[in-house]
Structures are given as structure tokens and as C-alpha cells.
């Protein structure tokens, strides 16, 4: 008998929600959900053509094309071999080199794939001691920067193009001049060779100023560490040893500063099934939801400026329990403010930390003021963390001047020639320095940079910088491992590396190859060619880490940092965040990152000022304009074909607020963010740039004008005015909304231990009889069965997989206007749910890609068999068959299929007309210039089709890698039975990029494979199991480890509602008795469903 599945009714207030519009059940939201396509999605806009006109025109042109068959002739094409064979190069085959990407406090060790001499993709180097083989979104996207057609391509002097020789001559002259008034402003690079050249330079020119500036640097933390422990130390937390971690405004899971090795010890300890190590517990205190906060077992919302006070109150409790004298001294010196926190939260958290002394760790964000850093170090000391969970290494680093020191020197007029390597101080230097004006006072500014940006425009010399994939270099990772940076390609344009400039300044010849790096390496690790070759082969020098150094806390110095500091001002604060898309602004021209939704707000192409619901209400900021403007607009302008062009009537539009601090004012679009601390506003840095390139134009809001050098993390005492202006946002959130179904599942450790299979019987899955199918499906006969698992327990939602997928699979970028029409093309999307109280919910990220259903609903509706199944269980897309009906996307329960509306791959995204209206709203009319930049073509993966207009596309499970592995095995087998050779090991692109090892891909048919074991594990469940589509992707439920003494502990791990054993089974005993095969639509009341929980297996299947 046919089984009818009605989706479970929506509870009055959903427990799990994706936006306020959904939570509040606003009519506008319902309408958007009910509407099959968002308004405008099916309209060929911008051209004034209706669909009917379009078809008429196309018919006519087809007829015309048919008259002359000349168009059918294939053009002549050529095979052009090398004149001289290139060593190792085999046409069409990938070559892999070990290299590294320098990041702020270390490096990301890499394996770079190059094909025919072009680097196309980077992966983590799993051999490296400070890498688990993962990467992050920034690293993945850095390949695109290499081919960025907007890069500075010529040397300019005074705005006019000059030759490289002219610049070399200038350097030679400067080198001879004696270095009077020479100064450098550099980015942090951790390069031993640069340090060596710097020392040579300083020996030659003793008066020179060497200043380092990173907008998102760790200057405050370094200040505290050097005061408390002495100069030249670096702190290394050992997450693998910590049972309890308390993160104070710290995004320690972020890999962008220290690399993937930093927190990699944390994730195995998060696994409830790990043998021999109890699951750790994470407390997070922060003002906005960070990735780390999303993982927290207990999270406290706290203004960033109150973190110090929180630490002080926590220290008091800890001191009372553990009686550390140095801590008591520190507490005495720390400033007191009137901030109040949940007393029980602080007490119980402190008790838990003290109870786990020696196995507990407190970690604080590096931009928090130095006195907070010192206080936290004292807490760690009292907890016995120093030397156990928090160790130190001796780096021997020579301190550099700060940008403030440099600014003082410029003001004093002592700087004559200023070299700026990278960075962009005219844009991102602390506002109180007025750096852009200071630059005008320096007679000669030499800027080595990637773009003709704000700083370059104020410089006498603009020199194009070489990308890290174009130049020789070396770097120490955060643990100190000596790591090589090898060029993969000659500079595409005439890029120069900073090592080359420094070498010329010390009077050496311009280096032509690796000689500078080789010199550094030989001095430290011997001159044998084997050692050098091994360095280049594996990418690093083994056992070259910094030596561990015992740390001794100088309590007096710690107290000294706190004395005389004013307590944080009450009232509103503005918090400066690292952007998940553009970092500090350095990736502003990277379209992949710009289009990657922020992990929390899901906003693309913009940054927004996040405000808590309560504060928004108080200030009069609307949740979003959706609720009322949409209604009004719909009354005035009912939905009809005439007004669909007026997208703003229903799309997500936010209020513009003015943020005022002192005499400085900035404007920003406000967005109400669940889980945000009250009286606090968070705004990401790096946006709001003008006059650099079309891609950055009109994108987001610049927060730097309010940022001062004494407080890099926050600015207190700001005032907010809500303006009447509004701002359209491109959010990927409300699109593709799923009704309150238990897609994301979680539970507590207790529940998991008592009922290990709980996740498989949540929601609908607790009611339904075993799935049966009406259809007979062809046997999936192959010895391989590709499958994947996503571990929600360790997934932070960091977006690395999204960008890796984009790089691997030639996924195009569509631009802000198209994202607003829900036409984004990303093959993986990172869903983000909120669960619970809107003021203080849980944040649950969930990566969703094509689930490769064995009973795929998309396949049955394709009229041309363009999407079919392979024997090894892949849901295939034959692009050349697809005629673009989009039926498959409509029938896909996961909404992961993407339709290419406008030949996005052929659109010159970097080459858009600059204008206030059309920035990012790329005009896709028939007269648009087509064809992507030549350099962008070089990035494309040659093993993946670059899809054209009118074709549906989606995740392929990286079929090119599967085929590569299968073919490799067959080639190796040759004239033997192929089963004698095992299939070559490989990973999907997303799995390979994942820094927390949350994605596992492999052959499910092999019972020893990791994916087979995880598929069969207790925590695994399939989304929408009751549809019986048998997806090949399974999710591992998130397990939380709450401390039951904490306030709100009863709400932790309850995203799916309470587990209510027994009662549930009883209530539905009658319907279940005869339910098998009977219509089983809605046996349970809506009230029961709001808190829909687990039923024990035996209850579910009676």
C-alpha cells in the first residue's frame, strides 16, 4: 500500500531555525518558502525580454543558423609540443611539489599540484610535523590570487611605468647612500632568510628602523608573554592534554594565523568514542558566535571589553579554591569594573577548571589587551597548566619596532626612504596614527605590493610583489619547523620578492634562484646536497622545531601589566573581527572568498554589523526589513511579471546604522545575530574599499577608521544612530530553507552513553516502520561503493571544504546580484542552524553536498537521462546531455543541484564596469563582454569540464579523482588480473582540505575502510531517512559534554528537543500497532513535535 509521508507539522516555535523570519513565522517568510522559486529566479532580467520574446528570438536565430551549415565545421586545432623537453613534465599529468604558504604566525605546509607548469590546487602536506594534511579557506583560495588579472603588473615610479632595471638601479643607489633615514614596514613572515638579511642590513645601516605591522597580529599577546616569561618565548597550548578548555574571546580553532597544526590535538579529544582519552569539555566566553563558540559545551555571551573583568572574577573564584599566591597578587592589581556575569556560570566553570588542575587550559584571544593576557597566564599558572597543557618554546626572535614607533619617527622627520613590503597601512593602520597622511611626509616610499591599492597610490615606487607560488623563500611554522617555499611558476608578471629587494640593498647581486634560501639552510643544517634535496622533496627539515623551554611566571611583571589600567567603559562597544572572507582585507580581490558565505551570518560579498536581538530592539534596528517592507511592497506591488525586476521589495534588506566613536563615524549595514552579546556590535575588518578594483568596489563597510592602536580588538563608548537608509544583502540563508525537520542531530554524552544509537531514532525516524521501496533498483554491482561521512561533532563550519571544492571543480563565481537571486553555484553549502532561545541559542553548522542517493529522485525526473547512476553508486551528471529543464533540482530533497544561468565561467568577473550601481551586480545582458581573463583560465583544473550555460551541475564526489585512482590501478595491473592490485588511495577535495578531519570519503564496500566503519557507527544517521532515498552521505551526530552543574546545562545538546523515553512510545502505541504500510501521516500532535526527541529502538519498531 502506498505510504503517504506528510512532513511533520511545523511547531509553533521551531526548536531549530535558520533565521528570525522563520522563527517568528512571519508571513513574508512563509510566502517565500511556499513559492517554488524565489521571485525573479526564472526571469531573464536586465534585457527587457520576456521569456516568450526570448523563445521567439531564439527560434528565429536557430532557423537562420540552420540555413548555412558552415557553422558545423569544426575549426582546425593544433598540437604544440615543447621545443625542448621539460624535465619531469609529462603532458597532462599532475606534478606535486612540497611548499608552504606563509601566514601571520607561521606557515601552512602545502603540496602544490601543478599541471603543464601551472599550479592549480594546493593541499596540506600530511608529512609535515605541524600539519594534519588539512588547509583552510584562505589557503585554498590563495591559488586564485596568483592568477588575479588585477594584480599590479609593472613597476611604476611616480605613477609612470618604468623598467625593472630602473628599479634595480634605484636599489643600487640606495644601497650606496649609507642608509640615512631608511625604514622598513613589513608583514610578519617568520622567514629565517629574511631575518638573516635584516640582520645584515641592520649591521650595515645601524640607524635603520625595522617595523612590523599586522592588523590582526598578536602584539598584545606578545607584550604579555615577553613581560611575564621573558623575551623570545612562544606559548604552545597542548589541546591533546587538556580535559577542560576555556576559551575567552579566542578562536583557537581558526587556522588562519598559526596553521592547522595548532588545534589539531583538540579534535581527537572531542570524539566520544576515542579510546583511552575522555571527551574534553569546552567553555567559551565571547561576544559573537565564532566557529569555536559553535563547538562549545557551555557558552557565555560577554562583551569583548568585559572579557578582562570576566577573567578577573574567574580568577577570584579559582584563587579562592586553589590558593595560588601569584594569582592573588594579579587579582589585586587588575582593574575592576561593574560588569555582572551569571554568578553560577563563573563559579561552576572555575570549579570545573580547578577540579581538573593540570589538565585544564584557559586560552584568550590574542588581541585582548595585554593585562587580560597576563591575568589569563596567571590563571593558567594557578591551574597548573604551565608546563602541562600550556608549554613554551624559545624562538630567539628579535623584536621589531611597531607601526606606532615608525609613525613617531616619520612625524619627527627622520624617515627619508620607507620600504613597505606587502600590507596596506594606508588602509588598515590604526586610525589614530593617520598613516595615510604620514606617508605623504616621507620623501621616498617604495611599496612592494600585489595591487595598486590605497598605499601604492601614495608611494613613489610601486613594485609588483611575487606571489608565494612564484618565489623562493623559507618559513618557520608555528612550532619552528624549517619549511621551504618553492616557486611553482616563474612570475606571471614581473613580480619581485622581498628577499630579492633586501639582498640588493645589502649590496648582493640580484638572486636568480634559491641561493639566498640555500645559504640560510646550509648554515643551519649542513651543506650536503642530500639535505637540500630532501628539504625540497618533503618540504621541511625534520626535527628543526624550536626547543621547548621551561616557563617561569614572573608574577610581579604580570601584576605590573595590570596596574594602572582603566576598567572597560560601560555602554556600547564595537568589536573588530577577522573577516571569514577577506581576512584583514588582503583577500578583498578574491572572488571565491568574497562569495563564500560568512559562517555565521551567511552573508556573501559584504560585512555586516552584528547586533544582539535585545540590543537591536532597544536601538530600533529591525530584525531585517523582510517582515514589513515585504508586506507593504507586496500590497503596493503584488507579485506579477511586471514588477519582478524590483528585487528589493522582498529580498533581505537591512538597516544602515551609523557608528560613532569620538569624532569618527562609520556606516554599516546592521544584522541581528542570534547569540550575540548585548550592548556589543561586531563588524569584520577588510571591507569598504574603493578605487582599487571592480571586485572590491562597493563591497561592505570599512571598520578601520574606528580602530585605534591601543585597543585592536574593541572600541568602547560608541554611539549608534539608526538611519533611514537600507542596504541589500546577499545571504544564502533563507534560500533553500528546510522546515523543522531533524536534519542536524545532537545529544549529550550521557544520552549517547545510555543510548548509543539515539541519533538514528530522532524525529520522524522514531515513528516510521522500515523503509520499503515500490521500485526495484538495479543492483549496484561494483566492488567499489563510494560514500562519505560528515562528523558534526568536529565540523566547525570553517568553509575550507567549500573553497577547496570550488578550486578543484572549476565552480564559477556569480556575483552579489546573482547570489541575491539564489543562483550561487557552490557545490557544497554550509547550512547553519540555530537552536533554542534566540538570545542565546546553539549554533550548528552542517555541510551539505550531493548525497548521492542510491534511489536518487533527480534521476527519475530527468527527461533526457542526463543524470544517471553508476554501478559504484555515483549519481552522475552528463553535462553534454543536460538540456536544462531543472526538474532534477526541483525533485532533489537536499537542494544541492546548481543551475548555470548565465555561463558564469565565461564572465569576466574581474573586469566589470565600475559604478555605484553595477558593482558586483554584473550585467549579464547579451552585449556583455565575454571570456574570462587568460590568467584565470590557467587556474582551471584540466580534469574537470568547465560547464557552460544551461547545464545543471552538482557535487560529483570528485569523480576525476576516482577515475584517476581507478585508471592508475589498471595501468599498474597491466596484463594481470586487476584485483591483484589495490585501488590507489585518494581523497576527495573537501576531505583533503578539512582541518578537523570531519569529512571522510571512501569505499563503503570495503569493510576495513574508515568510511565503512563510520557509516556503521552508532552516531551515524541519514538525513530525511523516511524518504527512502538511501543517501550515500551519512552524518555523525554531534555529542556535547555539558557540566550538569552549569546554568542552562539542561538545554545543552537539545537541538532536537528533549529525549523523552517511554511517554512518546506510549502516546503512539496505537497508531504504530497497525502503522506498517498504513498511511502514516500525522499521528502525533503538533505539541509533541515541537520537542521531538528520541525513542528507543525497540519502541520505534514495535
Amino acid at each position: 500500500m502506498k505510504r503517504v509521508f506528510n512532513h511533520p507539522p511545523m511547531p509553533e516555535k521551531p526548536t531549530m531555525w535558520r533565521s528570525f523570519a522563520e522563527l517568528e513565522k512571519s508571513p513574508g517568510f512563509d510566502e517565500v518558502v511556499q513559492r517554488e522559486f524565489p521571485r525573479g529566479a526564472g526571469v531573464y532580467e536586465d534585457s527587457g525580454l520576456s521569456k516568450r520574446d526570448f523563445v521567439k528570438l531564439m527560434g528565429a536565430s536557430m532557423a537562420l543558423a540552420g540555413v548555412g551549415l558552415t557553422g558545423c565545421r569544426r575549426p582546425e586545432s593544433y598540437l604544440v609540443p615543447f621545443n625542448r623537453g621539460v624535465e619531469w613534465a609529462i603532458p597532462g599529468k599532475f606534478l606535486y611539489y612540497a611548499s608552504a604558504m606563509p601566514i601571520r604566525q607561521g606557515a601552512m605546509p602545502l603540496i602544490v599540484s601543478t599541471v603543464d607548469g601551472r599550479p592549480t590546487k594546493v593541499e596540506g602536506n600530511p608529512l609535515h610535523p605541524y600539519s594534519n594534511g588539512g588547509t583552510d579557506a584562505f589557503t585554498q583560495a590563495s591559488v586564485l590570487d596568483l592568477y588575479d588579472p588585477n594584480r599590479l603588473k609593472v613597476v611604476k615610479q611616480g605613477g609612470n611605468e618604468v623598467t625593472v632595471e630602473a628599479f634595480d638601479a634605484f636599489l643600487a643607489e640606495t644601497a650606496k647612500s649609507g642608509g640615512q633615514g631608511m625604514a622598513f614596514l613589513v608583514e610578519r613572515k617568520n622567514s629565517p632568510t629574511r631575518d638573516r638579511l635584516r640582520a645584515e642590513l641592520q649591521a650595515k645601516y645601524p640607524g635603520l628602523i625595522w617595523a612590523e605591522y599586522e592588523p590582526l597580529g598578536d602584539a598584545e599577546a606578545a607584550k604579555a608573554t615577553s613581560a611575564v616569561f621573558g623575551q623570545g618565548f612562544r606559548l604552545v597550548p597542548k589541546f591533546d592534554r587538556a580535559d577542560i578548555v576555556l576559551a575567552l574571546d579566542s578562536e583557537f580553532t581558526s587556522t588562519s594565523d598559526k596553521g592547522v597544526g595548532f588545534a589539531s590535538g583538540f579534535y581527537p579529544r572531542r570524539n566520544p568514542d576515542q579510546k583511552g582519552a575522555p571527551m574534553n569539555r569546552l567553555y567559551v566566553v565571547e561576544n559573537h558566535y565564532s566557529n569555536t563558540g559553535g563547538l562549545a559545551d557551555h557558552r557565555l555571551r560577554c562583551k569583548a571589553s568585559d572579557i578582562g573583568e570576566f577573567a578577573r572574577q574567574l580568577a577570584e573564584k579559582i584563587a579562592a579554591k586553589s590558593g595560588g599566591s601569584s594569582l592573588a597578587a594579579a587579582i589585586g592589581a587588575a582593574p575592576k569594573s561593574s560588569a555582572q556575569f551569571n554568578e553560577q556560570w563563573v563559579t561552576e566553570c572555575a570549579a570545573d577548571l580547578v577540579a581538573h588542575a593540570g589538565r585544564a587550559l584557559v586560552i584568550v584571544g590574542e588581541q585582548q589587551p595585554a593585562w587580560v593576557q597576563a591575568l589569563v597566564l596567571a590563571i593558567n599558572d594557578a591551574l597548573g597548566a604551565i608546563g602541562t597543557t600550556l608549554t613554551g618554546v624559545a624562538t630567539g626572535e628579535i623584536p621589531s619596532a611597531s607601526i606606532a614607533d615608525l609613525a613617531a619617527a616619520i612625524t619627527a622627520g627622520s624617515v627619508k626612504t620607507l620600504f613597505i613590503f606587502g600590507g596596506n597601512p594606508a588602509y588598515n593602520a590604526p586610525a589614530d596614527l593617520g598613516f595615510a597622511d604620514l606617508l605623504k611626509k616621507v620623501p621616498t616610499v617604495v611599496r612592494l605590493g600585489f595591487f595598486e591599492d590605497e598605499t601604492a597610490k601614495l608611494s613613489a615606487w610601486q613594485v609588483p610583489a611575487a606571489h608565494y607560488l612564484e618565489s623562493w623563500g623559507d618559513v618557520r611554522t608555528y612550532d619552528g619547523t624549517y619549511t621551504a617555499i618553492q616557486p611553482m611558476i616563474l612570475p606571471l608578471w614581473i613580480g619581485v620578492s622581498e628577499l630579492e629587494i633586501l639582498a640588493q640593498l645589502v649590496g648582493r647581486p640580484k638572486p636568480a634562484g634559491p641561493e639566498l634560501v640555500k645559504e640560510t639552510f646550509s648554515a643551519a643544517y649542513g651543506t650536503s646536497p642530500e639535505a637540500w634535496n630532501s628539504l625540497l622533496r618533503v618540504g621541511f627539515q625534520p626535527n628543526s622545531q624550536f626547543t621547548e623551554a621551561p616557563l617561569a611566571l614572573n608574577a610581579a611583571a604580570a601584576a605590573g601589566l595590570m596596574t594602572g589600567v582603566a576598567a572597560a567603559q560601560a555602554g556600547l562597544e564595537l568589536v573588530f573581527l577577522q573577516s571569514s572572507s577577506v581576512d584583514d582585507g588582503r583577500y578583498a580581490n578574491n572572488s571565491w572568498l568574497q562569495e563564500t558565505p560568512d559562517f555565521e551570518t551567511k552573508v556573501t560579498w559584504d560585512n555586516v554589523a552584528m547586533i544582539s536581538p535585545a540590543t537591536a530592539k532597544r536601538l530600533g534596528v529591525r530584525v531585517n526589513n523582510f517582515t514589513w517592507t515585504d508586506k507593504v511592497a507586496d500590497m503596493i506591488n503584488p507579485i506579477s511579471e511586471e514588477n519582478v525586476k524590483n528585487e528589493n521589495t522582498f529580498d533581505i534588506v537591512s538597516d544602515i546604522i551609523e557608528i560613532k566613536a569620538g569624532k569618527d563615524v562609520i556606516r554599516a549595514a546592521a544584522l541581528v545575530a542570534p547569540g550575540h552579546a548585548d550592548d556589543s556590535i561586531s563588524l569584520a575588518l577588510g571591507y569598504g574599499r574603493t578605487g582599487v578594483s571592480a571586485l572590491m568596489e562597493g563591497v561592505g563597510f570599512n571598520a578601520y577608521p574606528l580602530r585605534t592602536s591601543d585597543s585592536p580588538r574593541f572600541r568602547t563608548g560608541v554611539e549608534i544612530t539608526v538611519t533611514k537608509d537600507s542596504y541589500p544583502l546577499a545571504r544564502t540563508q533563507e534560500a533553500q530553507s528546510m522546515h523543522g525537520r531533524d536534519l542536524f542531530r545532537e545529544g549529550t554524552l550521557d544520552r549517547y552513553q545510555g543510548d548509543p544509537k539515539f541519533a538514528q531514532f530522532i524525529g520522524m525516524d522514531s515513528h516510521i516502520p522500515p523503509n520499503i521501496s515500490l521500485y526495484t533498483h538495479p543492483q549496484l554491482s561494483k566492488t567499489e561503493a563510494w560514500a562519505m561521512t560528515v562528523d558534526l561533532n568536529t565540523c566547525t563550519g570553517c568553509n575550507a571544504c567549500l573553497v577547496a571544492c570550488q578550486a578543484e571543480n572549476n565552480v564559477p563565481v556569480v556575483g552579489k546580484e546573482q547570489v541575491r537571486k539564489n543562483r550561487d553555484m557552490a557545490w557544497i553549502r554550509m547550512d547553519r542552524y540555530f537552536a533554542g532561545d534566540p538570545e542565546d541559542p546553539e549554533m550548528l553548522p552542517q555541510a551539505v553536498m550531493c548525497q548521492h542517493c542510491e534511489n536518487a529522485p533527480c534521476e527519475t525526473v530527468c527527461p533526457v537521462n542526463a543524470t544517471v547512476h553508476s554501478e559504484d553508486g555515483l549519481n552522475l551528471m552528463a553535462y553534454n546531455r543536460c538540456i536544462g529543464t531543472r526538474y532534477c533540482a526541483n525533485n532533489c530533497p537536499w537542494k544541492v543541484r546548481r543551475f548555470n544561468y548565465f555561463d558564469y565561467n565565461e564572465r569576466p568577473i574581474h573586469d566589470v564596469k565600475i559604478g555605484p550601481l553595477k558593482a558586483q551586480g554584473i550585467y549579464f545582458g547579451p552585449l556583455t563582454k565575454k571570456g574570462m581573463a587568460d590568467s584565470s583560465k590557467m587556474q582551471k583544473n584540466p580534469n574537470v569540464t568547465v560547464r557552460m550555460r544551461g547545464v545543471m551541475e552538482k557535487c560529483t564526489f570528485c569523480i576525476q579523482r576516482i577515475e584517476e585512482a581507478k585508471i592508475g590501478r589498471l595501468v599498474e595491473a597491466g596484463a594481470r588480473n586487476k584485483n591483484e592490485v589495490p585501488i590507489h588511495e585518494f581523497k576527495s577535495a573537501c576531505q583533503q582540505a578539512c582541518p578537523s578531519d570531519s569529512l571522510v570519503f571512501g569505499n563503503k564496500a570495503d569493510p576495513n575502510s574508515r568510511v565503512a566503519r563510520l557509516h556503521g557507527s552508532d552516531r551515524s544517521y541519514a538525513m530525511l531517512n523516511y524518504l527512502n532515498v538511501t543517501p550515500r552521505v551519512k552524518y555523525l551526530a554531534r555529542i556535547k559534554n555539558p557540566n550538569m552543574k552549569m546554568p542552562g546545562a539542561d538545554k545543552v545538546g537539545k537541538a532536537n528537543g528533549d529525549a523523552h523515553h517511554g511517554a512518546h512510545g506510549d502516546a503512539h502505541a496505537a497508531p504504530h500497532g497497525d502503522a506498517h504500510g498504513a498511511p502514516h501521516g500525522d499521528p502525533h500532535g503538533a505539541d509533541a513535535h515541537g520537542a521531538h526527541g528520541v525513542t528507543k529502538p525497540e519502541e520505534a519498531h514495535h
Binding site: Y78, P91, S870, T945, I967, A973
Partner: protein, 221 residues
């Protein structure tokens, strides 16, 4: 009784006839073009920048395919030889031949910085089709099966249609083309009879577990 049909209908029969003829002719012409080997360019024999003779090099000089197409066993592409490969012999043999002008220009006396030789592509699969040479030649499919008797060609031309149905013919019944591994590059080799070929092919198919893909994903990614 009034006329049911207006006057212009008198002209209709011949108009219809003309239309049918024209349409029929167009359909026939279309079918002739698209459904015959001409569309798949069998016999396509462009003039190459260098009049290289495969028959001379293979039949008379006895060179192996892999001397020039050196990566066919390891890569998806079967490479066209670099100029360096040509010049490894032709600096001594026929060093002054006017036919080798383009090659010598590219070589530029050993510097290798001359204008590259643009060989005209004969066998071209669509961009969305991923063919891999290595897997075929290592698993018993000879060059001959797709490229014909290149060893006897003075000028190379396309020998097989290389259409999708042609590919599938072999993928569905590889026994008709599998050879002993020793004879892959021997383009003169032939099984004694079609029956022998089938027998042997089935034996190899069984022994090596040859199971070519016939799903889309085998070639389209």
C-alpha cells in the same frame, strides 16, 4: 451551392508538393552529412607543417611508436614528440632536408627558442570527454584499434569515426580488440581469424578482469 474552398486552394497541391520536396531534400542532405563518416571526419587528412612520414619511420626504419609518443604508457595524453626528439636524429640524418625547415627553425641551432611547430590536430574528442591512452595500451588495446594502420600511412588521416557509439561498441565487447601485450605496438599484427580474435579476447578479458565502463562517468566528468 457556394464554393466551400476559396480559389487560392487550387494552387495548394503543387505548393505542398514543392515544400515536401524541399523539406525531404533537406532531411536527406542532413542525414547524409550527419549520419555518415564524413561528419565524424573519417579520412580527415590535413596538411602538416612538416611532411612527416610514419611509413618511412616505422616500416623502413623500424622505430617503435613509443620512441616519439613517449608518454603513451603513463599519461592520458599520447604526446606529440618535442622538437628535441626529432633533432636527436636529425642533427645528423637529413640535417639539411628542406622538409625539416620548420623543425630546424624551432630548434634554432640547439637553443630551442624558435617558433613552435603547430601540428594540425586530427583526432579530437570533445572537451567533455576524457580519454586515457595509458589505460588502453596497458590493458591490451593496440594503437591500431583507434588509429588504424598508421605505420603504413604516408600522411596521417583519421581512420575511425571515434564517435560515442563507436567507443561503446568496444566498451561493450572488448574481446574484439584485446591483443597479447607484446603486440600492442605492432600495428601489422592481426589475429589469424575473427574467431581466433574472439577466443583470445575472451580469454584475456576473463584473466585480466577487463570490464570497461559503460556509465557516463567513465568518460564524462
Amino acid at each position: 451551392m457556394a464554393n466551400f474552398f476559396p480559389k487560392w486552394t487550387n494552387q495548394l497541391p503543387w505548393k505542398v508538393a514543392v515544400c515536401v520536396l524541399v523539406l525531404g531534400g533537406a532531411v536527406t542532405a542532413g542525414l547524409t552529412y550527419y549520419f555518415t563518416p564524413k561528419y565524424t571526419r573519417v579520412g580527415y587528412e590535413p596538411t602538416q607543417p612538416v611532411p612527416f612520414q610514419h611509413d618511412l619511420h616505422v616500416q623502413q626504419l623500424g622505430m617503435d611508436c613509443r620512441f616519439c609518443h613517449s608518454f603513451v604508457e603513463v599519461a592520458s595524453h599520447s604526446n606529440v614528440p618535442s622538437v628535441q626528439t626529432c633533432m636527436s636524429c636529425h642533427t645528423q640524418v637529413k640535417a639539411e632536408s628542406p622538409k625539416l625547415e620548420a623543425v630546424r627553425a624551432a630548434w634554432n641551432g640547439g637553443k630551442g627558442d624558435g617558433p613552435a611547430v603547430n601540428w594540425v590536430r586530427i583526432h579530437k574528442l570533445p572537451d567533455y570527454t576524457y580519454f586515457n591512452h595509458a589505460v588502453h595500451v596497458n590493458r591490451g588495446v593496440s594503437c591500431y584499434s583507434c588509429h588504424g594502420d598508421v605505420n603504413n600511412m604516408k600522411v596521417v588521416y583519421q581512420h575511425q569515426p571515434q564517435s560515442m557509439s563507436w567507443c561503446l561498441d568496444c566498451h561493450r565487447a572488448p574481446e574484439n580488440h584485446l591483443r597479447p601485450p607484446s603486440e600492442i605496438y605492432n600495428l601489422n599484427w592481426k589475429a589469424a581469424s575473427p574467431h581466433d580474435q574472439r577466443e583470445m579476447g575472451l580469454k584475456f578479458k576473463e584473466e585480466w578482469d577487463v570490464n570497461p565502463p559503460v556509465t557516463c562517468g567513465g568518460c564524462h566528468r
